[in-house]
Amino acid sequence: MELINFVKDFAELFEETDANFFKPSTKFRDIEEWSSLVALSVIAMAFVKYKVRLSGDDIRKSLTIEDIFNIVKAKQ
């Protein structure tokens, strides 16, 4: 599991935000398009692509995309 691929998977969940905007250090809550629905799509992506069940707390305690990546990696 590579960080660069995870960031790409994360970016694909957004319809309007330019893919180049997304970096491991991106604070995802600051993205204008971020919403509770996008949060669910992150949970779905982690489950479908990485077979990891993220909890609500996993999302709530994360600030950056890399934070979520680290949780997914630890749970694999």
């Binding site: 629905l37 779905a44 489950f47 069940r53 609500g56 999302i59």
Partner: protein, 350 residues
């Protein structure tokens, strides 16, 4: 693993009753127009039915079952058991099933019990009534399942109030020797009991004056501590894992090829979650009916209500159906059945 197989029983009738009053999500003052559109697009819920102050779940179930008994041609003294599944009973005690036995004019030599269960309640209730009937000592049973769940929601909680609707259902089960019956997978995980909860008002946290204080938990989410709380992200995470897992376990254990199943009827959680479950299972949309658009998430009633509204599919020939419930508890389960022309009266409105 909790697998159950109850042969010699058959689902022979299904009915449902909803309140006549409709509530349109586009008209809610807790949403701007854009927010309402976004909510409807993601949840699939355009409107719900709302029970009046004096209408209980048992009233909806009573209306559903009274006509069904007539349409089935059953004589009331033939009915041997009655199970009521709900999280919105008439009283803390006594059990609502006892009240319904009397109100329906059923004999007193009857097995009557309540089951406290929500989104997986129809599956659990069906397993219990099937188990009671399968040996042939009892011949006819009624499974009454529903909720007036909006009574538990804060009208100022836009994560819950626009999602739920009220409904009551009745399912008639009969002992029939030689029928294949029902095959179940059942499970629960109480470690996540706080994911969907009414925190105060039971006996663990008794109701106090502070239970009635309205608090803002997030922007747009205001409720009292004796009202329904739901952690949307945890519910979603749970649902997309456990619903497909339960169906796959059921399929593997009982050797049921999923491509030979005609319809998959899921608890109507919300469209975004249910579509994720459908996609994870690789199911054709034509095989997955919905009732969310006009009725919302009707808690324990959602599976039988959806089955009833899809009844045109059931009325002609034998159909293979898998139903799957998942939610509060956390609790989940699936059932496989073959329906043979069940009696399905039109939806009742009161």
């Amino acid at each position: 693993m909790a697998y159950l197989n109850f042969p010699n029983v058959s689902l022979i009738g299904l009915s449902a009753c909803v309140p006549r009053t409709k509530m349109e999500n586009k008209s809610l003052t807790i949403f701007t127009d854009a927010e309402a559109e976004k909510f409807i697009a993601s949840t699939g819920v355009e409107r719900r039915r709302v029970a009046g102050k004096d209408v209980c779940t048992s009233d909806l179930c009573y209306q559903a079952v009274d006509g069904l008994i007539r349409d089935l041609g059953w004589e009331k003294p033939e009915i041997d058991c009655l199970i009521f599944v709900s999280q919105t009973p008439d009283y803390i005690l006594p059990a609502t099933s006892c009240l319904l036995q009397n109100r329906l004019g059923l004999k007193s030599e009857i097995v009557a019990l309540d089951i406290s269960s929500g989104c997986s309640g129809w599956i659990y209730g069906l397993s219990v009534i099937s188990g009671l009937l399968s040996a042939g000592n009892l011949k006819k049973g009624l499974l009454l399942v529903g909720d007036t769940i909006l009574k538990t929601c804060s009208t100022a909680d836009r994560s819950a109030f626009p999602l739920f609707g009220d409904a009551g259902t009745a399912t008639a089960i009969e002992y029939k020797k030689g029928e294949e019956g029902f095959k179940f997978h059942l499970a629960c995980d109480g470690s996540n009991f706080e994911t969907i909860i009414i925190p105060e008002g039971g006996y663990r946290n008794v109701v106090t004056e502070s239970s009635f204080e309205m608090k803002e938990f997030e922007p747009g989410i205001r409720r009292k501590r004796n009202q329904l709380f739901m952690d949307g992200m945890n519910v979603f995470s749970f649902g997309i894992q456990k619903a497909p897992e339960s169906i796959n376990l059921l399929s593997a254990h009982f050797n049921i090829p999923l491509d030979q199943v005609d319809y998959f009827v899921f608890h109507q959680a919300n469209k975004y979650m249910n579509e994720n479950i459908r996609i994870i299972l690789g199911l054709n949309p034509d095989k997955v009916p919905y009732s969310l658009k006009d009725f919302g998430n009707t808690s324990s009633a959602s599976i039988p209500l959806t089955l009833l509204l899809s009844c045109k599919y059931l009325a002609h020939t034998r159909k293979n159906i898998i139903a799957c419930g998942f939610g509060v508890g956390l609790s989940w389960g699936s059932v496989f059945m073959k329906t043979v022309k069940p009696v399905c009266p039109d939806l009742i409105e009161v």
